[in-house]
């Protein structure tokens, strides 16, 4: 710092984490917002930094954590009391002082709204402190100290990018799976597990019936009477296997699948749906879609839980429905709506998936798209989307 002749820029406090894989826990939640929505916003705030560095942030429910997050009022034990609505919104501690982040619980914390104070933006700012960034005097930067109001199309400022990469280096891997060409042996290998046929079934024509990540974070692809398990590098060895062999009760040629917050996975075909807990079907299934998911049509194309708001979405042809189990009715009258609302996505997709990295991906005829939830449009990346699913997901 010094005279104003100096170029405005980010500032480093002087300490940083030596490890890249950090974990965190929210030990005290704010009033007025569901835990699930707070969890999602906090995860998105950390993602601002993990998207541009090799840092990773994992929520844990027990044991010591690197970063503890609390919503508190007034004096809360660190000698730096909050001051009620307005004024100071939150504060955080640099790595050398522990990295914790505290938020003033008397603020009206909101999500994706011009009202109140946007939790995501303030959290992303405080986590910048937790990682070692001090306040920047670049007014447009995330690390500027003054709240600028809700920014629906928030993008990290170049100044913030320079600052965090000065501390932790650039990101070398893209946040998509199978970013490296898999070895010719193993994923996408010539043997076909069960039938001895080459698994060109996926590589030759990588259109799929359904794709889902289960509660144990394994991701499975279904096509015809067979299924594959995916790894970071592509298809796991020993696949494909037959659905009937491992998924007792599940038919072939399914339409779609999604995993809900209760850890159960729902598979759809025609007018019926099946519910599985991991690889075991629950009793009394299949059931009628019209009964369990009233308002949703039969013969859907895709079903997924959108990372943007945690709601369940169903796609069919050029239309989509939003299903909110907490609402009555669960599908509002304003649905169906045109898929064209989802900028950049095609109609009649194969299926969609919320992957373990928090992104939502859409698949169709061997291509896939990654969706940018904040911009509500297909993400812009290099190489651009759509990309060939065979090469990037199935290790072909």
């Amino acid at each position: 710092y010094g005279s104003d002749a100096r170029k405005k820029r980010y500032a480093l406090q002087g300490s940083r984490w030596r490890v890249r894989d950090l974990n965190y826990r929210i030990t005290k939640y704010p009033r007025g917002l569901t835990k699930a929505s707070v969890d999602r916003e906090i995860a998105a705030a950390f993602k601002v930094w993990s998207d541009v560095t090799e840092l990773s942030f994992t929520p844990v429910t027990s044991g010591k954590v690197h970063i503890e997050i609390r919503f508190e009022k007034g004096e809360h034990g660190d000698g730096d009391p909050f001051d009620g609505p307005g004024g100071t919104l939150a504060h955080a501690y640099f790595p050398i002082y522990g990295g914790d982040a505290h938020f003033d619980d008397t603020e009206a914390w909101t999500i994706d709204s011009y009202r109140g104070t946007n939790m995501f933006q303030v959290a992303a700012h405080e986590f910048g402190h937790s990682l070692g960034l001090s306040h920047s005097d670049v007014r447009s930067s995330l690390m500027a100290p003054f709240y600028r109001g809700y920014e629906p199309s928030f993008v990290l400022d170049q100044d913030d990018l320079n600052g965090i990469q000065a501390l932790y280096g650039k990101k070398t891997t893209k946040p998509t799976p199978a970013t490296l060409r898999p070895p010719t042996i193993g994923g996408g290998s010539t043997d076909d597990g069960e039938t001895g046929q080459p698994s060109s079934v996926l590589c030759g024509d990588p259109s799929i019936d359904a794709v889902v990540t289960m509660s144990d974070q394994n991701t499975y692809v279904f096509k015809g009477s067979r299924y594959w398990r995916l790894t970071e590098k592509g298809v796991d060895s020993g696949y494909p296997k037959s659905i009937s062999q491992d998924w007792d009760g599940l038919p072939s040629n399914i339409d779609a699948a999604f995993t809900w917050t209760n850890g159960k996975t729902y598979f759809f075909r025609g007018g019926e749906y099946w519910r599985f807990s991991d690889l075991k079907m629950d009793a009394d299934y299949p059931k009628q879609i019209s009964k369990g998911f009233s308002g949703i049509p039969d013969d859907i194309d895709a079903a997924f839980v959108w990372s943007g708001n945690g709601k369940i979405y169903f796609f069919k042809g050029s239309k989509y429905w939003r299903f909110d189990p907490t609402q009555r009715p669960p599908v509002k009258e304003s649905y169906p709506k045109p898929i064209s609302n989802w900028e950049g996505l095609p109609n009649s997709i194969d299926d969609a998936l919320q992957y373990s990295n928090g992104y939502t991906y859409f698949f169709k005829n061997g291509n896939y798209w990654r969706f940018n939830d904040r911009r509500f449009k297909v993400d812009s990346a290099d190489p651009a989307f759509p990309r060939p699913a065979g090469y990037w997901w199935f290790g072909c």
Partner: protein, 78 residues
């Protein structure tokens, strides 16, 4: 909402809290005497950091910025 920052005392508390004045500056028990120049420089430094005109005065723009909700971490660290 907190008492708006308008009077000298609350402005000095703000400047001390966010690192533009020494914390003891606003503690009468410690008997620190501040020259007008020190306070003016502190206001100028805040104005420079916030991208405002550096008048050294508590003008309208400066008061408005001091009343903007913000992060509680100091602006001047180390």
């Amino acid at each position: 909402t907190p008492v708006p920052i308008a009077g000298t005392t609350t402005a000095m508390m703000y400047l001390a809290r966010f690192g533009y004045l020494a914390p003891t500056a606003t503690n009468p028990q410690s008997g620190a005497l501040l020259s007008e120049e020190t306070v003016t420089d502190a206001v100028k430094e805040f104005q420079a950091f916030a991208g405002l005109n550096q008048t050294g005065e508590m003008d309208e723009e400066t008061v408005k910025m001091m009343n903007t909700p913000r992060c509680g971490v100091k602006d001047k660290v180390g």
